[in-house]
């Protein structure tokens, strides 16, 4: 069996798309972690949960703007949702096209994060809008988390549903982006505890989950590499200069993996991650580098 043949040309999905993939991972991941803290945590976890809901919102404001700017005809962004074919008006929804489902999921998740963001403001006494706290209940957060998981991961599936080298040679990208989004979200939430000391009791939980997500991400990078070796396209994404980005990705996994090796699942080591500015930023750099390596190596 020879290598997979590829003759498709690059779609030129570059900086806007990189930014979107990064933000989608962090927004979705933060929402999920916030919900876990609210649902299963102690009352003392609520401040950290709100940090998560605060983080989840701004990317969802930026995301549609970035995606529209990337279009050749930005003002036609709504054509994603509504079929303007003469004589065939109606909703556009193609479950087999991740870009089509993603457009709808973005709308739902955008609304969900807006409500949870506003509800956090109300609960923090910064806003008076009782309606949103009534809406932002546990079932709502669970519902939102499902969309959060989707938004953080579907971007990888979108790349795979193509005929591009590397992207279409693997089934690991959706999971990989999701795992890295979760790891990055845990790091970002920890980073922001410096502005909200009352969230510190939850730092241990985030630190432990960050370790587990780093391990999950590493496993998925291995699966990704193996699927590419089977297709014969590994050289394109792991070769130079992209190897530099992969080194950043690995560096971003080191805090988590080192924590796992030394502290295992003990939440005591959280202090290191919380007090350091560099460590969470390194994790976030890894999240960005992963997406950059996957997106750019195929197209430039």
């Amino acid at each position: 069996m020879g290598d997979v043949q590829h003759f498709a040309g690059p779609p030129d999905w570059l900086w806007y798309i990189l930014a979107y993939f990064f933000l989608a991972g962090l927004s979705g991941g933060s929402y999920v972690l916030a919900t876990l803290l609210r649902l299963r945590g102690a009352p003392g976890d609520e401040p950290m949960a709100r940090i998560g809901y605060y983080i989840a919102f701004p990317p969802m404001v930026l995301a549609p703007i970035l995606l529209a700017l990337d279009l050749g005809q930005p003002l036609r962004f709504w054509h994603m949702l509504w079929n303007t074919t003469p004589g065939h008006p109606g909703v556009n929804f193609k479950y087999w096209s991740p870009m089509s489902i993603g457009s709808w999921a973005l709308i739902v998740f955008g609304a969900v994060t807006t409500v949870s963001f506003a509800a956090s403001l109300v609960r923090d006494g910064k806003l008076r809008l009782p309606l949103v706290t009534w809406l932002d209940n546990r079932p709502f957060n669970v519902f939102g988390s499902l969309f959060g998981l989707f938004i953080a991961g579907y971007t990888g599936v979108l790349l795979s549903v193509s005929n591009q080298p590397v992207w279409s040679d693997t089934w690991a990208l959706g999971g990989l982006f999701l795992a890295s989004g979760l790891a990055g979200s845990a790091a970002l939430m920890l980073l922001l505890t410096r502005f909200r000391p009352e969230a510190r009791p939850s730092a241990g939980m985030l630190s432990v989950s960050e370790r587990l997500y780093a391990l999950l991400e590493l496993a998925l990078i291995a699966v990704f590499a193996l699927t590419l070796i089977a297709a014969g396209t590994q050289g394109q994404v792991f070769g130079l200069p992209w190897l530099v980005l992969w080194l950043v990705v690995l560096a971003g996994l080191i805090p988590g993996l080192y924590g796992l090796a030394t502290e295992r699942l003990s939440p005591n080591g959280a202090a290191a991650l919380r007090h350091s500015l560099a460590v969470p930023l390194l994790v976030l750099a890894g999240v960005l580098a992963l997406r950059a390596a996957v997106i750019f190596s195929i197209q430039v």
Binding site: Q5, L33, L149, W171, G204, P267
Partner: protein, 271 residues
């Protein structure tokens, strides 16, 4: 030719064995479709077009197959020439992924990008296995061969086929073209041209290509995936989502484990 009638499948049979690389098809296409073209790129042979894209809807490929030294008299192979074009695939990858439904099948069974519906997301570019589509710098939308939709509606043969002096590009009802192709292949084989083969004339490649070819070498030589590699983007939906779903479950579990460890710590400290 009899009238061009809607409801019937039309296409091209491009016979590369008679192509002389004159590029009349490229010129006629640009002129009729008012395509500006790109700045010339000086490539191998006489190719200064480079590739199919928003400005080039026909592209004559030049492949230098002449050995540096002839092995024996008459043994040198010639240039391989091929006028490439959108294949108007029966199972079209571009159409499959397009989120706006801008890509439609017309009454002539051709694959057409509606310029007023497309929003330039370029998903189709990532999907087309033949690298046919390009995003226009002027209009911002995806553009490719329309099988001269406007000409067909007015009972006129597409410009490229009309211009081709060697009839390398034949236009007509797909059924008729298929018969012509089989006959032509038999003639070539009878003449000892055994390397000649048909590509896309049956369902093996994307359910059949309405624009299919007679080739003088392996498909991959011309940038065409062979039967095994002619696959649709949607094949990756199931695996992609499944891995993401498993990761999601593991991710939530990881969070729950972390919460539990923390609670154990809190309770052991309390106790």
């Amino acid at each position: 030719m009899p009238h061009i009638t809607p409801g019937q499948a039309y296409g091209f049979f491009t016979d590369t064995s008679v192509c002389i690389g004159c590029k009349a098809c490229e010129v006629a296409c640009k002129q009729w479709n008012q395509l500006e073209g790109n700045a010339p790129s000086f490539l191998d042979g006489f190719d200064n077009t480079g590739r199919l894209d928003a400005e080039n809807w026909r592209h004559v490929q030049f492949h230098d197959d002449v050995p540096d030294e002839t092995l024996s008299e008459g043994n040198g192979k010639a240039w391989l020439l091929m006028s490439d074009v959108c294949k108007h695939c029966k199972q079209a990858s571009c159409m499959e992924v397009c989120p706006t439904n801008a890509i439609i099948r017309t009454e002539f069974d051709s694959v057409f990008i509606q310029p007023d519906v497309c929003n330039g997301c370029r998903n189709c570019i990532a999907a087309c296995p033949y690298d046919v589509i390009g995003a226009s710098h002027t209009t911002g939308i995806a553009q490719k061969c329309t099988l001269c939709y406007d000409r067909l509606q007015n009972d006129m043969t597409p410009a490229c086929a009309k211009a081709c002096p060697t009839e390398s590009i034949k236009f007509g009802p797909v059924e008729e073209l298929r018969r012509t192709a089989v006959e032509r292949l038999q003639t070539l084989h009878a003449q000892g041209v055994t390397q000649a083969s048909l590509y896309g004339h049956d369902e093996k490649v994307y359910g059949g290509l309405n624009a299919f070819f007679l080739l003088m070498d392996k498909p991959e030589k011309y940038g065409l995936p062979d039967e095994r590699n002619a696959v649709l983007p949607s094949r990756n939906n199931a695996g992609g989502y499944l891995t993401a779903a498993v990761t999601a479950v593991l991710g939530v579990l990881g969070g729950l484990i972390a919460l539990r460890r923390r609670r154990e710590k809190v309770s052991s400290e309390d106790g």
